[in-house]
């Protein structure tokens, strides 16, 4: 019989895996189950170096790789199992992407409760990282919209977990980086929408103070807000940014030509990026130029209607956009500090600007109240996301310095983006780590679920 690549073959040779940042690749045996039974079998036969689930590989660092062990590629569990158009409850397997959910449900008048900057993440990954989006200040994080999940545990059993039935296991799994089990399926509360367009107001802010003030002032009026900052701007332009604020458009906000099909959704990747870029292409000069052009071409304020893809996922237009950083890859850094820490935030933006550390996508946002997840990232405050080419001079000094500032303010960095945090800094950033460990020890006493990140950080 011919080998079927989709069966849970246990004797396949190891593959090299890395995160979206393409740093620190390691080898693991990849198994792609198509059924719950195959997934359970793959966990039961995992071997001494354990197993971790992987979705579409959009985490930037090493949480979805497991050197010398097994990696469960969940993208084979990609069925939408149930849709209730009355309540907006949708049950999907763990490997279903948010893209697939949008394609299926936007035409039916429902949007995902939370989307990150890419649609190409899975439901399981969204829960494991307890992802957030431009609506965090209004709606919280992803797991807060999960009514129930089916979790494959280390012993091969499957448990249905809800925030009511087993709050400890539920909130350990939300943001738990896959270390409590494998999310085989989840039921989400979707958000009703009248149209698939967003009414967007864009504001051009000349400096950091203006930006922070405007962000604070717009949160109440818009469900979705995010600021794109020019991290290389200096002096009086420090922190200049474009602030995008949007709400889903109502039917009467659509121009006549779109009213016939108000829920159209036709997003697809425009072009594949070839893997030919030299590692130094994105540097302080090219990024400064791009920032300048993009800032200047935007008028001081404008209002327009945007598509879901154009507003939420501008980078998804290019498949494999991470390749533009070259083979050396890049490091993402996202932190949150409380609202009182405005001075520290300013100090960090100043230092990044002074170091001329070129971050291509720099995003500032305000988080609302934190998530109950033990290892969930969002807490109330300012969050800044940056990405730096790995070869950036001085990066090995800049990032630890940023860690120090974040720690001093009682903030934290985002594990879904982390690829280099020191293990010693984890407990202070995630004060509920011990509670997490207790739950994990109870459901996985032998440490079957393990990742490069959990080894590195000693989670």
């Amino acid at each position: 019989m011919a080998a079927d690549p989709d069966t849970a073959a246990a004797d396949s040779s190891p593959s090299l895996l890395s995160g979206w940042g393409r740093t620190a690749p390691t080898a693991a045996q990849v198994v792609r189950p198509r059924t719950r039974e195959q997934a359970a079998e793959a966990v039961a036969t995992a071997g001494p170096r354990g197993v971790i689930a992987r979705g579409l590989g959009r985490s930037y660092g090493d949480p979805a790789q497991n050197a010398g062990g097994r990696v469960l590629d969940l993208t084979g569990l990609n069925r939408i199992l149930a849709v209730d158009l009355g309540t907006g409850l949708v049950t999907a397997e763990g490997g279903v992407s948010l893209h697939a959910l949008m394609r299926a449900l936007i035409p039916l008048g429902y949007f995902v409760p939370v989307t990150p900057g890419t649609r190409y993440v899975t439901v399981g990954g969204a829960i494991g990282s307890d992802i957030h989006g431009k609506n965090h200040h209004a709606d919280g994080s992803f797991a807060q919209h999960v009514a129930s999940l089916d979790l494959l545990l280390a012993d091969g059993s499957v448990r249905t977990v809800t925030p009511e039935s087993d709050p400890e296991l539920f909130w350990a799994t939300a943001g738990g980086m896959g270390l409590t089990g494998v999310v085989l399926a989840a039921t989400l509360r979707m958000v009703p929408i009248e149209t698939s367009r967003l009414a967007v107001d864009t504001f051009k802010l000349p400096d950091l103070d203006a930006l922070m003030e405007k962000l604070a002032g717009t949160d109440a009026d818009y469900r979705y807000t995010v600021a794109w900052m020019d991290c290389l701007a200096k002096g009086s332009r420090l922190g200049r940014a474009l602030l995008d604020c949007g709400n889903f458009a109502t039917l009467d906000q659509l121009p006549a030509k779109h009213r016939a099909d108000p829920l159209a959704f036709a997003a697809k990747p425009l072009a594949e990026v070839p893997d030919l870029f030299p590692s130094g292409l994105l540097n302080r000069r090219t990024i400064a130029l791009a920032n300048e052009v993009w800032y200047r071409k935007t008028p001081a304020a404008r209002s327009h209607l945007a598509t879901v893809a154009g507003f939420f996922h501008p980078l998804d237009g290019l498949r494999d956009w991470n390749r533009v950083y070259g083979r050396a890859g890049f490091v993402q850094y996202q932190f949150v500090v409380p609202f009182g820490a405005d001075a520290a935030l300013r100090r960090m933006v100043e230092r990044i600007s002074r170091a001329q550390a070129p971050s291509f996508v720099t995003v500032l946002k305000r988080f609302g109240a934190g998530s109950p997840g033990y290892l969930s990232f969002p807490t109330e405050g300012w969050t800044l996301a940056l990405d730096f080419p790995t070869g950036t001079p001085g990066l090995d000094r800049l990032l630890p310095w940023l860690d120090e500032q974040v720690l001093a303010e009682g903030g934290r960095v985002y594990l879904a983006k982390d690829a280099r945090l020191a293990a010693a800094d984890l407990p202070a950033m995630y004060p509920r780590l011990e509670e997490f460990r207790k739950v994990r020890a109870a459901v996985d006493p032998h440490g079957v679920f393990v990742s490069d990140q959990s080894r590195r950080l000693g989670i």
């Binding site: 190891p14 620190a24 170096r49 062990g69 790995t390 280099r420």
Partner: protein
């Protein structure tokens, strides 16, 4: 685990009293991420003192430093001795740093002594290098850093016994690196020029000579970018590329100096 910027949490040094290896260990431990260092070498006071020095590093974070009795010449023991190090926990980077210089003019008259140089530098490295490579492959990640030498690039009258062992080691390490491509294991060959260490004490300095700290910096930078061959100083790459192609009569004259 090695992180995105090449920091390592656990380090195994074969040749635990090597000046270059200890300088590298100090340099790596400086970022506070190193938690375990294993010094494998023949037991000596010097080894214990080196371990004690490393324990004091780490900037507050505790570093576990162990010493392991390891003799490059006793190849039958390598699997057992080094296997135990890997069994106790993942190793992110192995530094294969042992080697002896020998005494060229004396060894030319004492073939057994000459063979011992080869036994240590080449045979011992083949055996321990393979033991480590296989263990790294099994854990699916890690770097094997092999200290070669420019002396192996073109044999010189003055040190061809040592040079030939490094030539063999260099070729072995390159082939090993290719065999491990795609396995998650990275092999880096380091080719320093004349390094001012206890090994070379008393010898006349060569042009473009370097220090253990400079070699350590180059190793750390190489780990960060996943380099396969590192020259120290970097300019030697071009010098040796020229020397390699000199006709024999010319090279004899140049090398005599």
């Amino acid at each position: 685990m090695k992180d995105a910027l090449g920091s390592v949490q656990s380090l195994l040094i074969l040749g635990g009293t090597s000046d270059i290896a200890l300088a590298t260990a100090r340099r790596l431990a400086a970022d506070g991420r190193t938690r375990r260092i294993v010094l494998a070498a023949r037991p000596s006071e010097r080894l214990e003192a080196a371990a004690q020095d490393l324990r004091a590093l780490g900037g507050g974070a505790k570093i576990e430093v162990e010493t392991v009795a390891f003799d490059a010449g006793e190849v039958e023991e390598h699997e057992k001795v080094l296997g135990a190090v890997f069994a106790a926990g993942d190793v992110d980077a192995v530094l294969l740093a042992f080697g002896v210089l020998g005494d060229q003019s004396a060894d030319e008259q004492d073939p057994v002594a000459a063979a011992k140089v080869a036994q240590t530098n080449y045979v011992g490295a083949v055996s321990s290098g393979l033991v480590c490579a296989n263990a790294l492959k099994k854990q699916g990640h890690g770097s094997l850093v092999v200290l070669s030498s420019v002396a192996g690039e073109r044999a010189r009258r003055a040190n061809f016994i040592y040079g030939s062992t490094k030539a063999g080691l260099d070729a072995f390490a390159q082939g090993l690196g290719d065999s491990l491509h795609g396995s998650g294991v990275h092999v880096m060959v380091v080719r320093p020029g004349f390094v001012e260490t206890k090994m070379t004490a008393g010898l006349p300095k060569a042009p473009l000579s370097t220090t253990p700290d400079a070699v350590a910096d180059a190793i750390v930078a190489g780990l960060r970018r996943g380099a396969e061959i590192v020259w120290v100083p970097a300019a030697l790459r071009y010098v040796l590329s020229g020397l390699r192609h000199l006709p024999r009569p010319v090279f004899r004259k140049v090398a005599q100096r």
